[in-house]
């Protein structure tokens, strides 16, 4: 039952990703002036329904496990997708910029796909870690990741639009992407949001260590170091922007570098390094 629900969620996310990308590809072209808004509506409703399904799935999974599911890749990537969708929906609520979905929904879909491919696996969570610290710590960190991915999406949108403006083609007005000013500004705001969330997540995590007994803890953990590097990349980006007015293309590239750092921290560390944060 729960697996079937998950499969349906996966398919809805796939549909959301495909329709959203299709909507972007059609753009403002004359021939698609009727069909495109319809496609975009479908994509958006898929996103909302998929989000509800995913929420239900995580809730059921939580009940089945008996603790907040955050031990296996299944748990973590599903939650990752959930966080991405939540942040995306919040941004749409505030800005009505659905085109962002063309960049973040595929990431969410891939996360769910990974989660689904592990779906039969579970891993035990050591007794001392089963508490609300875990919930708070991971939720903050994943929402931070999601905000960074939104910033990455805006960075890509910026680069595409900028390229079109510089190419001086007539296709410039065919695309639905927002103006450079908007992409830049919203990407920056997402970065700030991400840094705030990440900082809070790290603080919660380090406080938590004070309460952990019976589980060995080392400060020089690969995940911790990698997270600090990521944090630094984003903080430096904000600082340089404030000081020297670095924005636009450079900010967009920085958002992409940050995204790579997030991926390294999230996935890379687990695959190649030993850490106590490892998912099994």
């Amino acid at each position: 039952m729960i697996n079937f629900l998950f499969l349906v969620t996966l398919l809805i996310y796939l549909a959301a990703g495909i329709f959203q990308t299709l909507s972007l590809a059609l753009g403002n072209r004359t021939e698609a002036s009727v069909i495109r808004p319809a496609i975009e509506r479908i994509a958006f409703w898929c996103t909302i329904i998929g989000f509800v399904f995913l929420t239900v799935f995580i809730a059921l999974w939580w009940l089945q496990q008996g603790h907040f599911p955050m031990t296996h890749w299944t748990d973590s990537t599903a939650f990752f997708a959930w966080a991405i969708t939540l942040i995306y929906l919040l941004i749409v609520r505030l800005t009505h910029l659905r085109t962002l979905g063309s960049f973040v929904m595929p990431v969410a879909f891939i996360a769910i796909l990974i989660s689904y491919s592990f779906a039969t696996h579970t891993a035990a969570l050591p007794e001392p870690l089963q508490n609300y610290w875990l919930l708070a710590h991971t939720t903050l960190i994943f929402l931070a990741y999601a905000a960074f991915i939104a910033a990455f999406g805006f960075g890509l949108m910026y680069l595409i639009t900028e390229r079109k403006i510089r190419q001086k083609t007539d296709a410039l007005f065919d695309n639905l992407l927002p103006s450079l000013g908007i992409s830049d500004e919203l990407g920056y705001r997402c970065t700030i949001l991400g840094v705030i969330l990440l900082t809070m997540g790290v603080i919660v995590g380090s406080l938590w260590t004070q309460y952990i007994r019976d589980v060995p803890w080392r400060w020089l953990d690969a995940k911790v170091i990698s997270t600090l590097v990521t944090w630094f990349i984003y903080v430096a980006q904000i600082g340089i922007r404030q000081l020297w007015g670095w924005h636009g293309r450079r900010a967009a590239y920085a958002a992409i570098i940050g995204f790579v750092a997030v991926l390294c921290t999230y996935v890379g560390v687990d695959l190649f390094l030993d850490s106590m944060h490892t998912y099994r």
Partner: protein, 429 residues
């Protein structure tokens, strides 16, 4: 029966000299509305007067033929502007009923505009309608007609792409600026070397929210003259370009033989303005701005050819879309006309029903008063009377509705005949 007629002139049929003569100034508008309404036949009227068109829409009553209705309106226009009927005939177009509706829908959809798809006309028609309504010139028919025209205008704008895309150089510049800055509110534009084209572009930018205008020219007097038009800051420049630090948009159109804005000085300026975007438009031939400038991170450079590429392709797109828009307009006009006919016929139908019903009721009362029937008998007689009324009215009503639905021109005469034959008292409300 009501006639919906319009008379008008536009850039399609008349040169500017004639349009000027026929245009209504704001003071004239109020007076003209009054004198229009003083005409017995005119029930409702709206006067539209813009730089490209002058049109009078009116609903006339107690007029036999369309020709007379149109003539009344033409005579009004001729009196208003002291222009003889002969030349009026030459420079104006006349529309009646369905044609009028279709024409108004085309106008509000900007299909009749000089630049198909331009966005101003909808607002202009709205203003004209609001003025006419505020002086009490409109009534049930024109209220409906204009409300529908606005919704058709919006439908065309949302369902077709005739309004998207830039079709003039200055418009393209505005659209590009929006693509870069998103909003032009609070932005500063610098015009270097005033020319007609740069002034026009600046005018467009100001209309779209640009708040500060700097006019730089070699001769200060000329700069002052142009700056006055925009409430801008005039300044004379030689080689000092530091005024560009504040400029978000730069329009250059000087006669200088060499590049005026070069890469290296601009790099310094960009640093001073903290790399905020700068959109440079070079409409000078030979060019004023070194092409290398366009490679700077926060600078976007377009020259006249670049802008023309954008414009040309959009024009082609629009023509294609306009065909689709015309179809929508025709459908909507036809549907509205049919609805309007039914709306106009309905009071007559209602009055006729009421009259029949009233006669039947009176007679029934009289009959029951004279003779005593059992309850059952009374019921039977009453329902029989009802059936007679219904059946008597059935064919005339059905044929009348058919005539309306088929767009039969005779139905106006039917209505008139019904009203006269049965002495119906119908008010249009």
């Amino acid at each position: 029966m009501n006639h919906i007629v319009s008379i008008g002139t536009s850039h399609h049929v008349a040169p500017i000299e004639i349009r000027e003569r026929l245009a209504f100034s704001e003071e004239q508008l109020i007076e003209s509305h009054q004198s229009l309404r003083e005409l017995d036949q005119v029930q409702e009227a709206v006067i539209l007067s813009t730089c490209n068109r002058v049109e009078v829409y009116a609903v006339l009553n107690s007029v036999r033929t369309a020709e007379t209705a149109v003539k009344i309106l033409a005579e009004f226009l001729s009196r208003c502007h002291q222009i003889d009927m002969e030349s009026l005939k030459k420079w104006t177009y006349l529309h009646h009923n369905l044609e009028t509706i279709q024409h108004l829908f085309r106008v509000t959809s900007s299909l009749d505009s000089m630049i198909v798809g331009e966005s101003q006309i909808l607002g202009q028609v709205k203003d004209a309608y609001d003025t006419s309504r505020s002086v009490g010139s409109t009534g049930p028919i024109l209220n409906r007609l204009f409300a529908k025209a606005f919704s058709v205008g919006k439908r065309i704008r949302s369902e077709t792409t005739i309004t998207t895309g830039a079709v003039s150089i200055s418009y393209a510049a505005v659209e590009l600026a929006k693509k870069i800055f998103n909003t032009l509110e609070g932005k500063t534009v610098a015009i270097i070397g005033a020319g007609e084209m740069s002034e026009l572009t600046a005018k467009h930018l100001v209309a779209n929210g640009v708040s500060n205008v700097i006019v730089a020219n070699r001769t200060y007097e000329r700069a002052v003259k142009v700056a006055e038009k925009f409430d801008g800051t005039p300044l004379a420049y030689d080689s000092d370009l530091s005024f560009l630090i504040d400029a978000d948009i730069v329009i250059s159109s000087t006669n200088a033989p060499d590049y005026l804005i070069k890469r290296q000085p601009l790099v310094n300026i960009m640093r001073k303005r903290k790399h905020r975007y700068m959109f440079l438009i070079d409409i000078a031939v030979p060019r004023d701005i070194e092409p290398e400038v366009g490679k700077l991170d926060s600078a976007f450079l377009y020259n006249i050819d670049d802008l023309e590429v954008v414009v040309a392709s959009n024009l082609k797109d629009r023509q294609h879309e306009a065909i689709r828009a015309e179809q929508i307009v025709s459908e909507e006009a036809k549907r509205f006309y049919d609805q309007l006919q039914i709306f106009q016929v309905n009071p007559t139908i209602k009055a006729l029903h009421q009259q029949f019903q009233q006669i039947a009721d009176t007679e029934l009362q009289a009959c029951f008063y004279k003779t005593t029937f059992s309850d059952q008998q009374e019921k039977a007689i009453a329902s029989m009377t009802q059936a007679i009324v219904k059946k008597l009215l059935h064919h005339p009503m059905q044929n009348l509705r058919c005539a309306v639905n088929d767009g039969d021109a005779d139905h106006g005469q039917y209505v008139q005949a019904l009203q006269e034959l049965f002495a119906l008292d119908v008010n249009d409300e």
